[in-house]
Amino acid sequence: MSTLDSKVPAGELAEKWVQYKSTMPLVAPNNKRNIEVIIVGTGLAGASAAATLGELGYKVKAFCFHDSPRRAHSIAAQGGINAAKNYQNDGDSVFRLFYDTIKGGDYRSREANVHRLAEVSADIIDQCVAQGVPFAREYGGTLTNRSFGGVQVSRTFYARGQTGQQLLIGAYSALSRQVSLGNVEMYSRHEMLDLVVVGGKARGIIARNLLTGELTRFGAHCVVLGTGGYGNVFYLSTNAMGSNTSAAWVAHKRGAYFANPCYCQIHPTCIPVSGDYQSKLTLMSESLRNDGRVWVPKHMDDVKALRAGTKKPIDLKEEDRDYYLERIYPAFGNLVPRDVASRAAKYRCDDGYGVGTTGLAVFLDFAAAIERYGKSAAISQGMPNADKVTITKLGKEVVEAKYGNLFEMYEKITGEDPYKTPMRIFPAVHYTMGGIWVDYNLETTIPGLFATGEANFSDHGANRLGASALMQGLADGYFVLPYTIGDFLSKEIRTPMITTDSPEFAEAEQNVQGRINELLAVNGTRAVESYHRELGVDIMWEYCGMSRNAEGLRLARTKIQALRKDFWKNVYVPHTDKEGIEFNPELEKALRVADFFELAELMVVDALDREESCGGHFREEHATAEGEAKRNDEDFTYVAAWEFKGVDADPQLHKEELVFENVELKTRSYK
């Protein structure tokens, strides 16, 4: 075990970034023209980095597996983006955003990075506005804000329920501009399948052209991964179908340490699974918990009657309902943080009180809100003695104005009208805080390999606050990496263009081709999809999901290994070309699932190693008597960064000790 150097600059917390920026080595414009940068992934973090590096004069090659950069999953973020602008004059500041993020992350993130994130947050908003992002505004034309979970100020900027989409379109358009200027070469429908390390430095990638199936070598002075998170290891998640870990995973296999893989965020309000065919889960915005009340039936016979369909949720009397969040957490009620709300729902369902055909759902009820809003609307319209029908009608209008879009989406998917019957919701995997370990420069343990956005182990510690993912992705891409990459590249100005005929490139290409050939040659009987489902739903969600214990994790590891071996023996990947030189989406999927198996094992190892509960990682052995998370600051205030030692070998742990000089470690309580 070694200790990792995070390269955090010395000095006062608030001065570090400013000082570092003004003293770091630079690359002169005439040299930038001769330096190539590969950027893999063109979501918020990748596209913003590609655009900015292109503007600076570097020669950029950008890669995405979609047909267009505009399809990256950043697009699906609904709620908003945080920034310490203090436009609302409600006491927000860089320090407060820093503090909220550290605390929200359950004290498992790096102070200096988080502070830098808070510092640049305001610039992001300015940049996006200038690009034409249509953020919500007041009548007077100024930007407006809303509030999100875990904070006491309004600092979230938003564009209806499509903030991620609008920010991505902003980054995509900046990228498009650089493409049109010839500064960025865009390779869409290309998937990175290996990293090429030459002389200890990341110098290129092997990418598969998804249209033709051909493998191509691409060389550059350095490589940036902005390839997102790995939530799809659970098969069912709110991630897009194509979201995968492959680029990050091959980097890990080539020497980049993987940090905190066990930190996964589980979002409490998603539309529950309805059947075996289910392919993904859809998020319902956190904002719904402002007005929705979460409950399950109090009595088991009501649960049975509901499942049998002999009773409807609205038939249950008030006293027969268990509003468990309000009961257990009277101080925060339905607005407890994500991890707490998710676990509480799981406990109810574990005890058999879950609703819906699968028993894996709880109710989110708006009846009380409709009545409350209806009454106040009736009074304000001069009808203090309005009847129930009028009150309901008026209340529905208010709720519709606030959440109309979400209610519509719910009805589209489930076919049920949430104005009339409570929504059914269940937690689902949403975001992964873990990722490739990076230092203050966002450089991984392989020199010349950088990671941005959700792909790195990030600034969110063990739990991310709402509206912070967009902030981090854009901070990394627009304002951090373009500076810090200079630290590496300034030493590379004498390095000529990287040629791709070196033995390292040949070895990497052969490695990928070998893997493809091997997969296609299995010619078994079982579809990739069913392996992915079994890995994700039956193993990972079951044993490494919302709550974990040592026994289950150990079992999970053997199950993963067995399933992985079975996969390589029995999977069937349809193909007509035995080397995969063709358009073949099944092969793409198979390659991704093969990597998920290996990652899954690492997650389990990490979860087993972290003998505490913190944020998105909950170990049943480390809970208070009431079932709340119990951190162990004494032994675990560190980042666990794992080194790959072989598919069948144990990974090696390296630690980065976390030092907190500016905040005091406290226990979170929501009672």
Binding site: D67, Q127, A130, R137, G141, Y172, Y277, S279, P574
Partner: protein, 256 residues
């Protein structure tokens, strides 16, 4: 809600590669479908069956990603309508309860020469990216931006820009248009940026370049049929097309 089972006859366009001479509709009869499935999940289940049976046709290729109606990947023409029968709904959010037992369902790729078919239901929509590359941006380098509140934008203008910016780039407008015109897509971007003060500086240049690229890519001419608006999953209005026409005239006639 109770699950229902229905049987559908799926008539699916099968094509291997751009120049497949044998491309055409193939029929899969009596496919069992749970009414709770989404349209794409129905195809997933069909595909798993085709794979595990080692069916000579192989699985049906179709594009999809987020499956929540925002990424714009899915691009199916269902019974002649892009994204199927429900208004303001992408194919991924279309659920099978809207279909009847025994119904014939035609599933075809987008039809437009500017969108060549790659495989089965997958088309190449890169032409839309090239339209954006031609000028669908504000030329502002990172770090050059003034304070977000330095330029006030009236709420209704901002809302109108947002209506246009909601475009997910799925190309359903082109697929729906009997002329395969890309005017709704292009005009949504032109409108989004022309409405906002931030996009004003290069508005004339932008519209000229984007329209020229659109024409060059081989899209048809708009004849104001309005099918684009009717099929757009984000319900973007053709008043954007009128706005783009205006912008274009003033750009061409206005000073050089």
């Amino acid at each position: 809600m109770a699950h229902g089972e229905i049987k559908l006859n799926l008539h699916i366009w099968r094509q291997k590669g751009v120049n497949d001479k044998n491309a055409g509709i193939k029929t899969y009869k009596n496919v069992n479908v749970d009414t709770h499935m989404s349209f794409l999940e129905m195809l997933d289940v069909l595909n798993t069956k085709l794979i595990e049976e080692k069916h000579p046709d192989g699985p049906v290729s179709f594009e999809h990603d987020c499956r929540e109606g925002i990424c714009g990947s899915c691009s199916l023409v269902i019974n002649g309508r892009p994204h199927g029968p429900m208004q303001g709904t992408t194919a991924c959010q279309l659920h099978m309860r809207h279909f009847k037992d025994g119904q014939d369902v035609y599933i075809e790729p987008y039809k437009a020469t500017a969108f060549p078919v790659i495989s089965d239901l997958v088309t190449d929509r890169a032409a839309l990216d090239r339209i954006i590359n031609a000028g669908g941006y504000v030329s502002v380098n990172t770090g050059n931006a003034p304070d977000g509140n330095a330029v006030l934008v009236p709420q209704d203008i901002s809302d109108e820009a947002m209506n246009a910016a909601a475009c997910i780039g799925c190309g359903a407008c082109v697929a729906a248009c009997p002329n395969a015109s890309a005017m709704l897509f292009t005009s949504a971007k032109v409108s989004h940026l022309a409405l906002l003060p931030q996009g004003q500086a290069e508005a004339t240049k932008r519209v000229k370049k984007m329209v020229a690229t659109m024409d060059r890519e081989g899209f048809g001419n708009c004849s104001n049929i309005g099918a684009c608006e009717a099929e757009c999953p984000k319900e973007i209005s053709i008043s954007n097309i009128a706005r783009m026409n205006r912008e274009y005239f003033s750009a061409v006639v206005g000073k050089d």
